[in-house]
């Protein structure tokens, strides 16, 4: 993976640490590889690999219940899969956590099977009334920290959708 990916992962994990995140749940996407790798090597973050993204939402909700800040790192298809869990934790339990989701299926993508995800992610989050923010470039990485604070203040999960360029820079599409 590109050197840019590692540098960007470094900055994103820096933002997570500044936000006080101590627990991360993840399920991979190829664009997330440097970030997940960096999280798994971070001694201040307990990293849990999950078999479904809604499990990750549950782990983050449980961590939040226990007083810790947590992040779910996944593909945007994982948000679609987690709709019931996200809505339940947002509106029924009111448990805050951060979600970093890679934004597959938009102009940066070269894969036809990703495109439907790009089409429906934002409308689904809107319908679920889960706040989300799109990070186009790594220069906007402060949004990660701010979204974590927003989640705590609002007592709800907040989603940050990370564009390919924010995760990997301008390296060739993969």
């Amino acid at each position: 993976m590109s050197g840019d990916g590692q540098a960007h992962a470094e900055r994103i994990v820096g933002a997570l640490l500044r936000a006080g995140v101590e627990i991360a749940a993840s399920l991979p996407d190829s664009w997330l590889s440097p970030l997940i790798e960096r999280i798994s090597n971070e001694p201040k973050i307990r990293h849990i690999r999950v078999t479904r993204e809604d499990d990750g939402a549950g782990v983050c909700a449980g961590a939040s219940l226990g007083g810790k800040r947590a992040v779910l790192v996944c593909q945007n298809a994982g948000l679609l899969l987690s709709a019931n869990a996200l809505a339940g934790y947002a509106h029924h339990h009111q448990l805050p956590f951060l979600v970093l989701a890679v934004y597959r299926g938009s102009y940066e993508d070269r894969f036809y099977y990703q495109m439907y995800k790009g089409l429906v992610t934002e409308p689904v989050l809107d319908a679920l009334r889960i706040p989300f923010h799109v990070v186009d470039r790594i220069e906007d990485v402060a949004i990660v920290e701010e979204a974590a604070r927003e989640a705590s203040l609002a007592r709800r999960p907040v989603v940050v959708l990370l564009r390919r360029a924010a995760l990997l820079g301008d390296a060739k599409a993969s």
């Binding site: 849990i48 078999t51 809604d54 499990d55 226990g66 019931n84």
Partner: protein, 191 residues
């Protein structure tokens, strides 16, 4: 065995400092009826998420032992969580699955392949270090005690009778979010 008996056997064996997470359905109903003194969080809805929530709580509070009381329908909705938990291997998480072979609270319909599912085999196959299966009171008493003496993760599958479990008539005096806040207050006060 009646589910209330299984719940009582568990309550009698818990340590005073144990924290309970409860899945939905008749397991929650049986546990509520125990009026146990332990801080308890009722995790559902969302259905299928109680084990993951219990895992997150166990990770956040390594100073407390978390005991998950779970229904078979709730667990079957998300069997992958058995792998996730085994991978994380929190030493302070214990699980008891109440097996009535039905979606009792949803109307009493059978689970797919009801009566032929082995949750201990599923858990062992997912890498759980310790499992036990109880078919009667004596076995449940012994295995709950063993579960709580373990120094590590473990799961007991306990077979209970199918008994009616209609949806509760209405909301209680507190909302889920209020219960959540009360639970958190109690856990932080006990620190």
């Amino acid at each position: 065995m009646r589910r209330s008996v299984a719940a009582r056997l568990m309550r009698e064996r818990l340590a005073p400092s144990d924290v309970v997470v409860c899945g939905l359905g008749s397991t929650a109903r049986a546990w509520r009826e125990q009026n146990a003194p332990h801080p308890t969080y009722y995790a559902s809805d969302p259905m299928g998420m109680a084990p993951a929530l219990a895992l997150g709580l166990a990770l956040a509070r390594p100073d407390r032992r978390i005991v998950l009381l779970e229904g078979d329908g709730d667990l079957a909705m998300n069997l992958g969580v058995l792998i996730t938990i085994a991978g994380a291997a929190p030493a302070n998480l214990r699980v008891a699955v109440f097996i009535n072979d039905r979606y009792e609270t949803g109307g009493g319909q059978p689970l797919p392949n009801a009566g032929r599912i082995s949750y201990v085999t599923l858990a062992a196959g997912a890498g759980w270090p310790w499992t036990g299966e109880a078919h009667d009171e004596a076995q449940a008493a012994r295995l709950f005690a063993a579960l709580l003496e373990l120094p590590q993760l473990g799961l007991v599958a306990v077979h209970v009778d199918a008994e009616e479990s209609p949806y509760p008539p209405g909301p209680g005096p507190t909302s889920q979010a209020e219960d959540r806040a009360l639970f958190q207050r109690r856990l932080s006060d006990e620190r």
